[in-house]
Amino acid sequence: MASADSEIRPGTQEAIPQAVKIIVAGGFGAGKTTMVASVSEITPLSTEEVMTEASQGVDDLGGVENKTTTTVALDFGRITINDDIVLYLFGTPGQDRFWFMWDELAEGALGAVVLADTRRLDTCFHAVDYFERRGVPFVVAVNRFEGSTPYEAEEVREALDVPAEVPVLMADARERESAKEVLVRLVTHVIHSRSPALSG
């Protein structure tokens, strides 16, 4: 039924919200799902993607043609921004063998958070490489763990060899305010990287 609301174009029923997504990447146990849980309005959910031999020949699956069945779990949360926009936060599969899922995750993503664990910094190298190569804007959030050496953000930047324009910040994935700050920095970075003239 047509609505009296002038925002709704004639012929359409009611407006369907648009979904956008942000990727939360990092090594296994870096706190991806913890961070999603800190800001999500729903308890994080997990969905399974089953890749079967029927997936052969799909362009994005280069390198996995010989596999018959692989199951990948993706954890995600949701933030309703307003009536028209819903933001989904997806954690990347932690294991390297699930790389083939990253292209589907990265497609159309606003940007990415790379969660770095300073006890195992090497586990996020490939996430940094991946987003740089794909041109997905990202920030590095150094998750503070009990017992980890307190590094400075700049030391982590150097160790990860990320360019100066990529924000690197300290975070605590368990804290809502901290997780929010990471997302705010990311989206600000995305806005600036899309319009360089305004970034100063």
Partner: protein, 169 residues
């Protein structure tokens, strides 16, 4: 014959995802499938608190592609469905009789919901859920809004709204 394998005695413990039965039923001569609401799939870091468990048995589940009658890819209606494609039930189509799994999806879609969330809440793999949603699209039972195309960057006003929304959390 039940389409489900032997059930474990304990109700949802949330400890481990059910192992899918290797000995699946023969889909070609099955009785109509019994649909159970999903158990709320535990995340990779453990089960989520507060996810309402459905009535699905904790034991082995029906082989996923039984629901799709063996199809592994969506029909024309489901092409382009993505993790975050938003699906919403068409209001005037609620009363038609359907397969229980399709009805379960439609029930979830009374409010706009993403493909990933349908999959997670019903505990049905994404590939399967995409086939089923494709059927609903083809029948005109649901409407969808696709995620942004690859090449198209989000508009500045969308980004600004996202930023404001996060700040309001």
């Amino acid at each position: 014959m039940s389409i489900f394998g032997e059930q474990r005695g304990s109700p949802l413990s949330g400890a481990a995802p059910a192992v899918r039965s290797e000995e699946g039923p023969d889909p070609s001569r099955g009785q109509p499938p019994v649909w159970h609401r999903g158990r709320g799939h535990p995340t990779s870091e453990g089960p989520s608190n507060g996810v309402t468990p459905g009535d699905a048995p904790a034991g082995p589940l029906v082989r996923p592609y039984t629901m799709t009658k063996g199809r592994t890819r969506p029909g024309a209606g489901g092409r382009g469905l993505d993790l975050i494609t938003i699906v919403v039930a068409a209001r005037d189509r609620a009363d038609r009789p359907r397969d229980p799994e399709l009805q379960a999806i439609l029930t979830l879609c009374r409010r706009p919901i993403s493909v990933a969330e349908i999959s997670a809440r019903l505990d049905v793999p994404l590939t399967v859920v995409k086939v089923l949603i494709g059927d609903l699209v083809a029948e005109g039972d649901v409407r969808t809004r696709a995620a942004m195309p690859v090449a198209q960057l989000p508009e500045k006003k969308v980004l600004q709204a996202v930023l404001d929304g996060i700040r309001r959390l």
